[in-house]
Symmetry: C2
Subunit: 316 residues, 2 copies
């Protein structure tokens, strides 16, 4: 008798989105990671194989974001799990340490895949909580702004972490995004260490909450100009921009090429920009790639398109 | 020939609304302040009379929020002003230093009234900017979270102060508010001084931006339960609550009586609570008044009703 087996794709995600540090993210159509999961009669999680990472990720399931997320699904499913264990094959489609939610996509795909083969006893919010455990293993921090959109799709706001309270936000018609990943790495752990123990003055906090509120209003009101004006971060971006070679020039190039707004994706070095059409997003991406090359000598990859309404899902 | 003369009412406002320090406020139907304005051939602003303040407000126009706001309208109207001056009569309906936007209501009513008699050359955002100058004269700070809803009505978000960028937010059907003003005073200047030079850690900022974003989403999605959960402030409320006798007991009483959420109105001591019906708001107000009396020996006034879609407006 063959054991249940599925293949799940989870998309790259842009988190923070300017003023939404640790609370806001959205899903892209591509790139993404793929996890195959097979139910097992042997207890626990076995990470059979990882491909596409040049051997850089931990192979031990208990130290890998996909393995930890699947273990979380096993634990939370408890006696509802149809099998005591799960075996995983992880195929990385996302560059590591890119700011595109790489560890989050692996965790999201593994959580969804494990749940499918173990009997589907967890709901999406449970799965986000499991994927957060995977994120913690990879980055040292239990943030959900990548794994929540990687699982739910679209734009997701995290109202609260204790308890976990997720709010889906609408995606306006006509909104496109350009995402440009320069060929250098920023580790999430290092980027977060820069922020540890920092405190921030009230005027900068007021500026950020104003922009965050306006960004949420713009998504509901389909006001792309307001959305663009709201992509501004007085707290974290100035600190993290220093880790991204050419940041100011790339941002300027994006805006000059017609971007509605531009900021860092996650902890960088990937940068994203919003645009009002697919063509505009493509022009913006070209301008950003040129600016990375000319100002910092960096080659880059780019993806453009609409925001994906879909999160992690079974694929054939 | 008689000179143009109008009477304008501007409503009380609840600002901050939990997580929205300095960027969020909404208008009540009542109470409010009334300003009569008359165009004048004598240059400048004359504050002819103030009533209802027990003689506590500055009579000099240049030091009074209504006088300064009207002077701002004169200055911004420039050569478009049909007259070189304006005379004002201010009737206070709002208690001073209550957290109900008292100085803001006077400034809003004066700005709108002055614009009407001087030829209506300013738009609502200009009028908010003028009223902010009045607010600055009264409180030492140019915040807009009272004067913006006092002029525009409804729920208003301030995305940015430089430049001033206001976002109107929808008011859900079935949302009611209870506002309870205990008979003690908190000066806005003193309340703001407590915050000066403070800095705040990132986890508390993350909690606040999550709640602020969720509050804005809840208004658009008509999700009253989410709205209630979002009325939480980890930054300013804990500091200001210490100035309000009985704060914890009053908040607890509001929630026990069915409030969706409860926090400080502006810099206090007034507290507000959201409720899902007019009856529920009335029960909540009774519970809050009882708690102020029993826990702090304070009498109080209460107002209940829906949020007002209207801001400052001409009345007969």
């Amino acid at each position: 008798m063959s054991l249940p087996r599925v293949r799940v794709f989870a998309p790259a995600t842009v988190s923070n989105v300017g003023p939404g540090f640790d609370i806001l993210g959205f899903a892209l159509h591509r790139p993404g990671d793929t996890v195959e999961a097979e139910a097992s009669d042997a207890p626990g999680v076995v990470l059979v194989e990882i491909s596409g990472d040049d051997g850089r990720l931990p192979r031990e399931a208990a130290r890998n974001s996909a393995g930890v997320a699947a273990a979380g699904v096993l634990a939370r499913s408890g006696t509802r799990a149809a099998f005591p264990g799960v075996r995983l094959w992880l195929r990385k489609g996302l560059p590591l340490a890119s700011g595109l939610g790489s560890s989050g996509a692996s965790a999201a795909a593994a959580a969804v895949a494990a749940n499918l083969v173990l009997g589907r006893s967890l709901d999406p919010v449970d799965l986000v909580a499991c994927a957060m455990e995977g994120e913690h293993a990879a980055s040292g921090s239990s943030h959900a702004d990548n794994v929540a959109p990687a699982i739910l799709g679209g734009f997701v706001l995290i109202r609260s972490y204790h308890p976990l309270d997720l709010v889906r936000l609408p995606v306006p018609d006509g909104l496109f995004v350009a995402v440009v990943h320069p060929h250098c790495a920023v580790s999430t752990k290092s980027a977060r260490a820069l922020l540890r123990d920092r405190t921030f003055p009230l005027p900068d906090i007021v500026a950020n909450t104003g922009n965050l509120g306006a960004l949420v209003a713009a998504l509901h009101q389909q006001d792309l100009a307001l959305l663009g004006r709201s992509v501004a971060d007085a707290l974290v971006e100035p600190i993290r921009a220093a880790l991204i070679p050419g940041f100011d020039r790339v941002r300027r190039a994006a805006l000059d090429a017609g971007a509605l707004g531009c900021s860092i994706s996650g902890s960088g070095p990937t940068m994203f920009a919003f645009a009002g059409s697919d063509d505009a997003a493509a022009r913006v991406a070209v301008a950003m790639r040129t600016a990375f090359r000319e100002s910092a000598g960096l080659n880059s990859d780019a993806w453009t398109g609409p925001i994906s309404p879909d999160g992690a899902r079974e694929v054939r």
